[in-house]
Symmetry: D2
Subunit: 342 residues, 4 copies
């Protein structure tokens, strides 16, 4: 086995903790060497040290200047992703960056340039590509089992809307939620989105509308390879987290249903009752979070291309901006229009 990859993590919030935990439990080929969080607590410090982290600091620079650390995982707040990516690249570190890289196209481009110049690897945290269901669909399409892809349908609904405060800074439903589905659409199509039409509505909570966002949306996609697709999002599905994908082609279709906590059916005089889907993304994509990190570490250790590139992150962002513009201007938007404006 190659030496364990020494990793430094910036940000010990919810997602940072998941990555640290996954590395400690499931990824012996990596080693948590450093953790930096500007709000670092004593508890976090003790925890990280218990897991073997040698450098625990409030200053991310402490990680970047440590020669032993070969890769940086960026899990800090969104507005710092781009800066840390640039800094890590300049320090010669490989980078795993949570999505989105930034809400500004210019800053994203600058970050990608820095990465390119430094010659380091950058993977973006679109973890759903690693989901057991969706990856299986992609295997089928790659193996030619469904022929030429013609239609892609993605259902993606959250169990409950985020706080209004979050909606106001997140970039809205297309940027914080559907961006995952744009990535899934491109992943499954094996082709780039060229045009977007978005129909949005405020049906869940009027406050979301007041914040300038929609909470329900149907978005039609056209792809470079001629396929067409559709994504529907809702901020609130009463029955829980609804994550389904269907890919239809000239030879057939592959479709994935939701994961359930168990397979039990209760049959009574009244009805037959089954379980609701797994609650939310932490449960649903539990293994996908592990597998994306294993994939990243494998890319670094064995010098393979990363599974989700910075360019993927940018392309997903273009789609989200196009959807936003489409809702506002009530017309289909070409991705080239968005690129031209940014």
């Amino acid at each position: 086995m190659a030496d364990r990859l020494k990793i430094g993590i910036i940000g010990a919030g919810r997602i940072g903790k998941i990555h640290i935990d996954n590395i400690a439990r499931f990824i012996p080929q990596a080693q948590l060497t450093g953790l930096a969080d500007i709000m670092l607590t004593a508890e976090q410090e003790a925890w990280a040290k218990g897991l073997g982290a040698r450098i625990v600091s409030k200053d991310p620079a402490d990680l970047l200047k440590e020669p032993e650390i070969k890769a940086i995982i960026v899990c800090s707040s969104t507005d710092t992703h781009a800066d840390f990516t640039v800094a890590a690249a300049q320090a010669g570190k490989h980078i795993f960056c949570e999505k989105p890289i930034d809400l500004s196209v210019a800053k994203v481009k600058a970050a990608l340039d820095a990465v390119k110049k430094a010659g380091v690897k950058l993977q973006i945290g679109f973890n759903r590509r690693f989901d057991h269901n969706f990856a299986r669909i992609r295997e089928y399409t790659r193996a030619g089992e469904i022929g030429d892809v013609q239609l892609i349908k993605i259902t993606s609904r959250d169990p409950a809307p985020p706080p209004i405060a979050y909606v106001k800074v997140s970039g809205g439903i297309f940027m914080d939620m559907m961006i995952h589905d744009f990535d899934m659409a491109r992943f499954q199509a094996g082709s780039e989105i060229t045009e977007v039409y978005a129909a949005g509505a405020v049906l869940v909570d009027p406050e979301i509308g007041k914040a300038g966002d929609v909470d329900t949306a149907i978005v039609t996609l056209k792809f470079a390879n001629g396929a067409i697709g559709v994504i529907d999002n809702s901020r609130k599905a009463a029955y829980g987290y609804d994550q389904r994908v269907e890919v239809f082609g000239s030879k057939g279709a592959a479709s994935a249903e939701n994961d359930l906590p168990n397979t039990v059916k209760l049959s009574t005089e009244k009805s037959v009752v089954a379980e609701k889907p797994l609650y939310f993304f932490l449960e649903r994509y539990k293994q996908a979070f592990v597998d994306e990190m294993i994939s990243f570490i494998d890319s670094v250790q064995n010098n393979k291309p990363v599974a989700v590139t910075g360019e993927d992150g940018l392309a997903n962002m273009y789609a989200a901006l196009a959807a936003l513009k489409s809702v506002k201007e009530k017309r289909p938007i070409f991705i080239e229009e968005i690129k031209g404006q940014n």
Copy 2:
């Protein structure tokens, strides 16, 4: 029991035969009294007489002038629907007319006017409202089980494209195929479509493109009640006839899967194999054809409103025309635009 309703049928082609057969087998409250078909064969004549038809003729006028006949079923070629509807109305007969009434909005309006003036009942053959699955979804929405309707998703794919000759005269995919789905969407939404955006593609057969049509389409709908919806159509699903509906609302969702010929699963070393969907509309909507006719006869005999009105037929047609225009002009189209032009 009321006296049996005496019925005359115009047209003994495929769909006419189904209606005749259903009345003879399953609808004792009706009586096939007359059949007219301009191409009437000796075999058809013998068959109809064997079923008790007293008047069998090549001239539909023979049915219209028969006082005993109270209702006319119009199953002739599409271009004659409107004329026979008008003639039947003027003869004071109630009318069940296969869809579409006509491809011209003006002719449809004229037919509806004639019906209104005559004070007779007119039901259009959108049989899928009577399907056991889709009717069950509507029961759930009517009972308030899913709360306010927010999203409607309809998948509707044929096992094989029709002959190119048919495509050329049918009005195209939106008019001959998706029009059923527009009706389903309006039925499930309990609201009228106000805006349509259609993304079309030629992915199944280039000849369809040469004929000026598309064979694959995703259409986004907006409804008067604020809900949004999407329909996807393909002229060719390798695995057969794919007919699914999902209605999502503030309190949950109701969704229907395909009907299968049997429930058997074969588990082997290689995989677990289940059946493909029922082959095509004759199998899939077998009982719906019976039930729409029972409903029509009940409306006539007991003076109840029909389940699918002429205005429904017109509204579905507006949606189809809007979709056609949307594909051509590559923009969303308001239904009001279509109404204004016709």
Copy 3:
């Protein structure tokens, strides 16, 4: 097409009506020529004549002496089945007899002898062999898809127990209910039952126990080909009629789930709800009743072996008697023991 087969039916109760109705609606190759019922009502008479029956009588002999009638369907009360079968055979008629032929082995044997001597065809009404699900499983086993049959599992539960009066005369759960499952087991195994062990319990209604019967049973079967099997019966499944079969072999398994009235699922905050099974045997085996009759008529018209022989009826009866004896004597019973005693 061959001439229509002229049929006479003895007994116009529930099952007789179903057969008459099926012939009239779905089996043009047969013709209802006669109906006899010792309790014949004016309404029944009018109905039968309306369907074309020329001979309608209270005396079954009127059918037997009519040369035009080629086949007799015996749907009278169980205690008359054997006598009518013998009389029909002696009159040279082919016979379709509802199960059981009789509750006495001696009378069954005598009836089979009479049939054999007369050289007529006899089919017994074990309609479930024609069920779309169970027939599909048999197709798979016949095609070798599951290899050598090793295990057969049959679940068969009624929605509600019959009246106690019926239990007292029916021969009990093994003779009136599980006998269908013995037939299914033999049909699927492609082999004869050699040994039976029955565990019975009175868990549904103590009155059933007082009547000398059990209402819940698990019966283990051994087959001549080495396979083993199990049937479970309950007189009352709260969720309705439960009819499932699973056949397991060296290369895999084929299993059938219940049929449902529709495929709709309702997902709410509380749970995901699906439909209960189709209510009872009239709904569940609707098409099987048609198909068994088509098969019988085909056997007669084209001189093919019948699908369910009198010997099948006898073999099923042996299994039922063995189960009954097993419950009483609390030990496994060889079929040969039963044969030796009868």
Copy 4:
């Protein structure tokens, strides 16, 4: 939080490694303090020390004499389970012992006596009670959702038979395989087995028959509370590990299907294909292994009754011995007979 429970494990084979790994990854409330394996390798030693084990030895006595160690997990070869249980009890340690405790009833009883005298806790490794599906069924029955339990059906089939050498020493299919199902049956029934009838066959591999065992079996159970049940086992299901449970009662039924690696369906011109079940017990019961250990540690730390007692182990063994005797003597066997003989 209470202090971490210091644990010593005897045996670092397949199952021992799983428990060690689970404690290290998922159970922070416990600490691996010692490991003993008479075949200890340098690699095992390094691994255990890397996980924090202070005492790593070839001599289990080293664990038993260490005061810091409060609980012993017995994962050694079956023939040593009873002795280590006795020794651990005498050393005042709580014990988690893999099943079976021993193949001799006398030795099991002696071990249980020693445990009782020492006043320590003993949990047996019947991990399936913790399975997400089967535990959910038990929740339903406990909550009264299915009323009085009447029928229990357990399907349990392995993907491939064990080596013949194993069959010869394991005690056979009832003792090494169906014993899990006896435990499940008692768990779901909430009642003890009183009578067993076993039908066995050699259908998978004649060598198994030569070794004095069967490879296919259907076993009927009677329970003290009046319920009846059936278990079917096969040493080889071509499609993989088949683990299903159904509990039927006066108010309905709860049933669990197999877990699948993903929910994807591939629909093509030929068929609709889904995944086979998860491969074998390590995949299927992965979380159950974690949860049984969490439950054991909770029992020790918070002085609660264990979930699976030594008496459960003994009762399951009686059922297995009864099944074995039933196959040999071809008659149903009362559990009391077995108890009387041991």
